[in-house]
């Protein structure tokens, strides 16, 4: 297996699907000749032509509106939104149209499309190039939401998303784009949506984390081990559909739960995990369910390193589950 960065895994998956299914088209701002501002679509236009990989006008509304139309007509559009912070002009098409097409038409029309977008902080992108808005999409019935944390999962989950019969939000942890390298299977590699993974086994406390928070939590787990606490890390991989059982099983075992996410704390996806645990594993809890998250402020520039959950905040969160 080849070592690839997370962003190379994205490119790999796109190549693989474009080669095997000519309904797959890739478009967005700067994805053609430039190959994307991060390079995720590099080489696709050369390989598959300007009809199947092309630049659009500067309108997220138009990108997703046309993607919905293409999907309804039978294509497999993979639209790139340059930064997740810029997805809001398309919000109506996503939540009112893509998410509801199948339901509102009684299954007559469907909308199999993938919206890829880099999300999250840690690249000094400041206010408008750092947001994590996965919770908006998780709260919208009809959307699947995928957040890979490793290069291999990135490839396998992106392939599964493109083949999915429903709209998928595929959120790529841009902080890990180049900082994370790992083995990625060549050729076919399919990681089904809805199946989480145990990123690290442990016995004392469960930490649920996804995307760019997984490597941070892994570091914190090492530290915690030094302090005598055994951390189990659950990476759900897909937030919708959620592998609830995997999380509950772990919490029932450890009796403790921390959720780590970089979005603003209030109403973030971690609230959902905490609520599930409080409803279904309450009898096993030996401490409070703790959320370590972004603060309830817009994303800052100069103080980004204080805003984002880091090892010391994760450790503090773990520690709090032992105090009650």
């Amino acid at each position: 297996m080849a070592q690839k960065t997370l962003i190379e895994a994205v490119t790999d998956a796109l190549h693989h699907e474009m080669a095997q299914d000519d309904r797959v088209v890739v478009f967005g701002e700067d994805v053609g000749r430039k190959g994307g501002v991060f390079g995720a679509t590099a080489g696709l236009q050369e390989a598959y032509g300007t009809e199947r990989c092309f630049d659009t006008p500067l309108s997220e509304c138009g990108i997703i509106g046309t993607a919905v139309g293409m999907a309804v007509y039978g294509m497999r559009p993979v639209a790139e939104i340059q930064f997740l912070d810029f997805i809001y002009p398309a919000f109506d098409q996503i939540v009112s149209e893509a998410a509801k097409m199948r339901y509102r038409s009684g299954g007559e029309y469907t909308c199999p499309l993938v919206i890829r977008s880099p999300y999250g902080g840690g690249i000094r992108g400041g206010h408008y190039h750092s947001q994590s808005s996965e919770a908006y999409f998780c709260h919208t019935p009809g959307l699947k939401v995928v957040v890979p944390s490793t290069p291999a999962d990135t490839k396998g989950l992106l392939i599964a998303s493109i083949r999915d019969e429903d709209p998928v939000m595929f959120l790529e942890p841009k902080r890990s784009y180049r900082s994370l390298k790992g083995e990625v299977p060549e050729g076919e590699h399919y990681v089904p949506l809805g199946v989480g993974r145990v990123a690290r086994e442990g016995t004392d406390v469960t930490v649920v984390a996804y995307g760019a928070m997984v490597p941070i939590v892994e570091k914190a787990a090492e530290k915690a081990a030094e302090l005598g606490k055994s951390v189990e890390i659950i990476d759900p991989r897909t937030l919708v559909p959620l592998d609830e059982e995997l999380i509950l099983e772990s919490v029932r075992k450890t009796g403790r739960c921390v959720v780590v996410y970089e979005a603003p704390k209030t109403c973030g996806f971690g609230a959902e995990i905490a609520a599930i645990v409080a409803e279904k594993a309450i009898g096993h809890l030996e401490g409070p369910v703790v959320r370590v998250a972004g603060f309830d402020t817009p994303f800052p520039y100069s103080l980004e390193h204080l805003y984002m959950p880091d090892v010391r905040r994760v450790l503090k969160g773990i520690q709090r589950t032992f105090e009650w």
Binding site: E51, P57, M70, R102, G106, E108
Partner: protein, 369 residues
Amino acid sequence: MTTSELLTIIEKDGRAAKGKDPNLSADDLRRLHRTMLAARILDERGLALQRQGRIGFYLQALGQEASHVGSAFAMRDSDWFFPAYRQPGIPILRGVSYDDIVCEWYGNDGDTSKGRQMPVHYSFRQANFVSISSPIGTQISQAAGAGMAARIRGDDTVFMTYFGDGGTSSNDFHSGLNFAGVFKAPVVFVCENNHWAISVPLKGQTASDSMAAKAHAYGMPGVRVDGNDVLAVYRVCKEAVERARKGEGPTLVETVTYRMGSHSSSDDASRYRDAEEYESWKQRDPIERFERYLENKKLFDPADKQALVDGIKAEINEAIKRAEARPRPALETLFEDVFMNPTPQLRAQRDELLALEGPESDDVGEFPL
């Protein structure tokens, strides 16, 4: 590429303007007439049922029959519609049964969309009539996208999408026409300018001279046509459809017409608009106008009209009777079609609901818009 003139064909006396008659066959002309009439009768019945409390909501196309039937008639059966909510004649033209239409009003278990949407928000896959949604304008960029897809695949499908004067203010009007212009998508954008968006009159919607003029901003032709003249609408749209099919790109067609009724069963237009305006448009009724043309051509005799109307009414009434006898969709359907396959969470929610005992809550309220 003219935008200021208004193309008209059928003159006051029922004759076609010189050299402009599209010379449709007698069968085609009768079909146009019958479809417009059926649309109007359907609308009458729909509103009546709402007034009687038998369905929850209704929304008519009264006065706009020529606009949507004439334009749709320019399409092939394999072409696609991305409609708004004021084109009841299109499903009729495409052969959708009254049963399918009426069951949607009732949201019963015969509804092709399983009772998911309010009345008149149809979805008819077999007619290439894409699911109607309430948010204004969203279908516009979707039609552009479908057109782009057809181009990529080399299909010769043409797409027609409808929206009102209010719809031109939407985000999707702008992005849809812009994308279609850039990618030369085979799309005909039909703006049915009926002069009102609920209570907001045209001049409150835009300071533009016309809706057709907006086409220039997207590098496409814009054409204004008398929307109460079914032949004029047909002719303009036929040209636009042909341009699209030949790969020459999209067209914006503005059909100038009038909303003869209130916005919907929840609205009362008399509270915000003058009776004279209504009266002046009543003189230009599209069906009566077309009947004068047909009479001239000896294809229609006013004496036969009642029988024609009664026949259509009877068919619709039969469909209503059958629809009223059908039950609501089954409880399980609530959880279907969120995704192709339900998630574990959805299955659990369904099971929870199925396990509940005791009386269901009652239906509440009435639809206010």
